[in-house]
Structure formats: structure tokens, C-alpha cells
């Protein structure tokens, strides 16, 4: 049998092990449910992002660090809609995970990591298989985007990271969003939720005060909009004293855009109305009598 110790395969193997080592230093055990513990990602020196469904208790939470030490934690906030929860450790000392600079691409190598037991980091290899979203989740939420991989989601991997070949986080793995499959919440969304949970303890959902239904947009209106957008949201109701009414939106307007985003179905609107936009002045684009019109609305907060 031959043995080539300096070939490409050996180098790739070492690179995979390096990626596991790097990302593993930021992957912790989250002990917050009855059955086996799950995993979590070090978001910062003192904060751990994990899956909401593995945090069954609100109290008596603890985290096992990669060095084997156990640290108690409190719940900083939950976002059940995206199956994310943020834990605050009683001490700092975590090595924050590094997010991948660019979004995941279909076909790229990806490693799923978890640390469900004190026996150390665990990993499985696959590729990014699909990108999708928005998705109505089992918990009644709306996941803006998700990734799927063919890496094996071993028991206790929920809350752990999916990383690229350099050990940078592509997303957070969870089996709690869809029945029978593990999905990955892309890191941009996961980090955005983590930031919101760190600041407010919850993810703020915006409020406009409209009722709407999807309608098609004719070719003439599309050409006035300057883009091919085949559907928009026809306003069939505007609540009194709502942000929408105060901005001058009227029944019969067709909502087609919010800030820079195209709004062509109700899920898109829900996605765009969450997070930091709440309380901000935002540009709303509508078609009124077939003509494009921009209005400014102050986004309210849904209680």
C-alpha cells in the first residue's frame, strides 16, 4: 500500500480538521432540556446563540465550554418564530464565532458541528444542498431564508453551527423548524436576531395597520414602475389612526415596495417588517390609479 503524505487529499483532510478545530472552539454544549443536551454558538464573549426548542427551561440553564468548564446562564431572549434563543453566561471567556463573509452557495463544502456531550466536538461533512424561504414554520413564525445540507444532523446538533471549509459560520442548524428535516438559519439572519435579542430581549415585529390581498400588476403599471413585478398587495382595509393611515395610504392602493425591497406577497411584507425597521421612517411604494407613488410611513410595533 502506498502512502502519500503530501498530496491534495491529505491537505484537504487537514483543512477540514482545522475548520472543525477553529469552529469547535466557539461551539458549546447547551444544557437546558430534559433529554440529552444540545449545542450552541458563541455569538460574543458572554453570549450563546442556540435553538429555541432546545431551551425547554427558563431557569437552571448551563453551558459547557470547549475547555470542559461548566458555566451557568440566563435566558437573554427568545424568538420562537425563527427557533432562536440567546443565553447570557455568568462569566465571559467565550471565543466568538466568525461569520462567513459571503452568503452560502449551493454545492460548497459545509461541516455541521455539535457538542452534545462532554466527549468533545462532533462533525459531519456535506455540501450546501439548497437555499429556500420564506417558510411558514411549525411554531407559527416565518423564516425569511434557510439552507439545507446533506450533512448528518446527529442527535444534539440543534443550535450548533454549519461552517464553511475555513471554519466560518454559514448558519445555525436546527431540527425544530420543520418536521423530519434539519434546516440551517443563515448566519446573516441568525446574527440579526441575536443582536435584537441582546438589545431588546425579543425580536420586534413591525405594524402598518393594513389588510391586503395579492393582485396582479398590469404591464403598463410595471413599465411605469421600471421593473418587472407581476404581483403587489391590494389594500382592502386601513385601520384608523394606524401608521398606514397617518402616512396617507388608502384602500385601493397597491403596495409594491418597502424601503429598497420589492413587496410582491404577504410573506415578503412580514419579513421586511421585522427587526430594526420598527419605529423608523420607511419609504412605502404604492400604485394609485395605476401611477407609482412614494409615501413615508413611521413603522409601528406589533404588541
Amino acid at each position: 500500500m502506498t502512502s502519500e503524505d503530501n498530496n491534495t487529499l491529505v491537505a484537504l483532510s487537514a483543512a477540514m480538521a482545522d475548520a472543525v478545530e477553529k469552529a469547535g472552539a466557539s461551539t458549546v454544549t447547551v444544557d437546558a432540556r430534559q433529554r440529552m443536551p444540545a449545542s450552541g454558538i458563541a455569538y460574543s464573549a458572554g453570549l450563546v446563540l442556540t435553538a429555541d426548542h432546545v431551551v425547554e427551561r427558563d431557569e437552571d440553564l448551563s453551558v459547557l465550554l470547549p475547555d470542559g468548564s461548566r458555566v451557568s446562564a440566563v435566558l437573554a431572549g427568545r424568538d420562537p418564530g425563527n427557533d432562536l434563543a440567546l443565553l447570557k453566561l455568568s462569566g465571559a471567556g467565550l471565543v466568538a464565532a466568525e461569520a462567513a463573509a459571503s452568503p452560502a452557495r449551493i454545492g460548497q463544502l459545509a461541516l455541521a458541528l455539535g457538542r452534545p456531550s462532554p466527549q468533545g466536538i462532533q462533525a459531519s461533512l456535506g455540501v450546501v444542498s439548497a437555499l429556500g424561504g420564506p417558510l411558514r414554520t411549525g411554531s407559527g413564525g416565518l423564516l425569511e431564508e434557510y439552507l439545507r445540507t446533506d450533512a448528518i444532523p446527529y442527535p444534539g446538533f440543534s443550535g450548533g453551527p454549519l461552517v464553511d471549509a475555513a471554519g466560518r459560520v454559514l448558519g445555525l442548524n436546527t431540527s425544530g423548524l420543520a418536521r423530519a428535516v434539519s434546516l440551517t438559519i443563515p448566519v446573516a439572519l441568525a446574527w440579526q436576531v441575536a443582536e435584537a435579542l441582546a438589545q431588546h430581549g425579543s425580536v420586534r415585529r413591525g405594524y402598518l395597520g393594513i389588510r391586503s390581498q395579492p393582485v396582479s400588476i398590469n404591464a403598463a403599471a410595471q413599465s411605469l414602475l421600471g421593473r418587472s413585478q407581476v404581483t403587489g398587495l391590494l389594500l382592502v382595509g386601513v385601520e384608523e389612526s394606524s401608521p398606514a393611515e397617518q402616512a396617507g395610504l388608502m384602500v385601493g392602493d397597491i403596495l409594491v415596495g418597502l424601503q429598497e425591497a420589492v413587496i410582491d406577497d404577504p410573506d415578503q411584507l412580514l419579513v421586511r417588517l421585522s427587526g430594526s425597521i420598527v419605529g423608523q421612517q420607511a419609504a412605502v411604494e404604492v400604485l394609485r390609479g395605476g401611477q407609482p407613488l412614494k409615501l413615508s410611513v413611521t413603522i409601528g410595533e406589533r404588541k
Binding site: 500500500m1 498530496n7 480538521a17 482545522d18 466527549q119 468533545g120 462532533q122 462533525a123 459531519s124 446527529y154
Partner: protein, 210 residues
């Protein structure tokens, strides 16, 4: 496909080809029963205890034979076995020593103490009777698995390479082609568990045969 992919594909194919030479098929009576790996060139094969244990009490056990990569078939005898760690050491009948290929293609054994989670591994065996089938994965975890015996626990390696019945007794190797473990489906009932080469080496040494 760029040159890097070419190099990878080529190296993986060479690795698989060289491994297939060290893989054997075990026959018990008429049927192929599993895989084994040539541990020492002078006629020692390692496999799982459960692969050769099926016909222990019967006439079939005396018909245990090994089929080499080149089609040669020799009788083997069970020289040592340990049910607790699911290992068996087989001695190939000396007839092969009179042939042109009088040394068997033995495997190289990895130093498992230096094995890292995430290293690429290749598994080879005869899943569902498919001869010499190769699957790729990585080292998912290294564990101490509980055993039903005096050892209490033993080192096992979990990989995410796809395995099936018939992989039992076949090797799991690292990117340099060195054996890190013997694929064994029955430990813990979890597919993808291999008994560490560390355990095999000490089993072979303790047998006093080799």
C-alpha cells in the same frame, strides 16, 4: 474541473484501488459473510468477531475461507477472538507462501492518538454483498463506548461515511491510506462506528500469535 479537483479525484481513486488489495471476502460454507483486512503480510487477517461467529458451533465454521483481491481462496482458522470488542484474528493457510505473490498486501496502521475530528476517511467493505464498495466521509467523533465485559469501555470512532451490513470487518482509513479503525455496525447499535486501530493493535499483540 480545475487541476485541484483532478488531483483530488486521482488521489482518491489511487487510495481506493490500493485499499481494495488489502480487503478480503470471508466465506463461511457457501455464503460470503463479510469483510476482513490483511493486517500482516505473512497471513494474518483481522475481522469482526460477529462476522465469523455465526457458524461457530457448526460444520460451516470449519469451512471458513478467505478470498483475496486477485481471486485466490484459502482456508483460514480463527487464531484469536474477543467478543467484548468484537474482533477476531484469522490465520490464512500457509499455501499462499508457495505462490508467486507469497506476501499478502498488508495495510498500514494509523497512529490514532493523533487522529483529529474532521479528518477525511474512506470506508471499504462489501455492503449488501457489493464487493469492495468505497464510501467517503470524515471522522465525526471519537468516543469511549461502554462494553459488556472486563474492559468496561473501548475507543470507537464515528464517521459519517455511509455504511451498511457487509461493511462489518472492513477498514476505515485516513487520507494517507492508513487504517484508523474497523467498521463495526453493532457497537451501540449506531451505524458508522469503527473500533479504533489502537484497540485492534493491542488485541493482535495480546493474541501472542503475530
Amino acid at each position: 474541473m480545475n487541476s485541484l479537483s483532478f488531483a483530488l479525484a486521482d488521489e482518491m481513486a489511487s487510495l481506493a484501488a490500493s485499499l481494495q488489495r488489502s480487503l478480503v471476502v470471508l466465506h463461511n460454507g457457501r455464503a460470503g459473510v463479510g469483510a476482513g483486512v490483511i493486517w500482516k503480510r505473512d497471513g494474518w487477517v483481522v475481522t469482526n468477531h460477529h462476522v465469523v461467529a455465526a457458524g461457530r458451533q457448526s460444520r460451516a465454521h470449519r469451512d471458513l475461507r478467505v478470498e483475496l483481491f486477485d481471486g485466490r481462496v484459502y482456508p483460514v482458522r480463527v487464531a484469536a477472538q474477543d467478543e467484548e470488542i468484537d474482533l477476531a484474528l484469522l490465520q490464512v493457510d500457509g499455501a499462499f507462501k508457495n505462490e508467486q505473490n507469497h506476501e499478502l498486501p498488508e495495510v498500514l496502521v494509523a497512529d490514532v492518538a493523533n487522529l483529529r475530528i474532521g479528518e477525511l476517511v474512506m470506508a471499504i467493505g462489501h455492503p449488501w454483498g457489493q464487493r469492495g464498495m468505497v464510501t467517503l466521509g470524515l471522522v465525526s467523533g471519537i468516543f469511549a463506548a461502554k462494553t459488556q465485559g472486563r474492559r468496561g469501555q473501548v475507543q470507537v470512532i464515528r464517521s459519517d461515511a455511509r455504511l451498511a451490513p457487509g461493511n462489518s470487518g472492513g477498514p476505515l482509513v485516513n487520507a494517507s491510506g492508513r487504517v484508523v479503525g474497523l467498521n463495526t455496525l453493532i457497537i451501540g447499535g449506531d451505524q458508522g462506528m469503527a473500533i479504533s486501530s489502537q484497540v485492534i493493535d493491542s488485541f493482535v499483540a495480546q493474541s501472542g500469535m503475530v
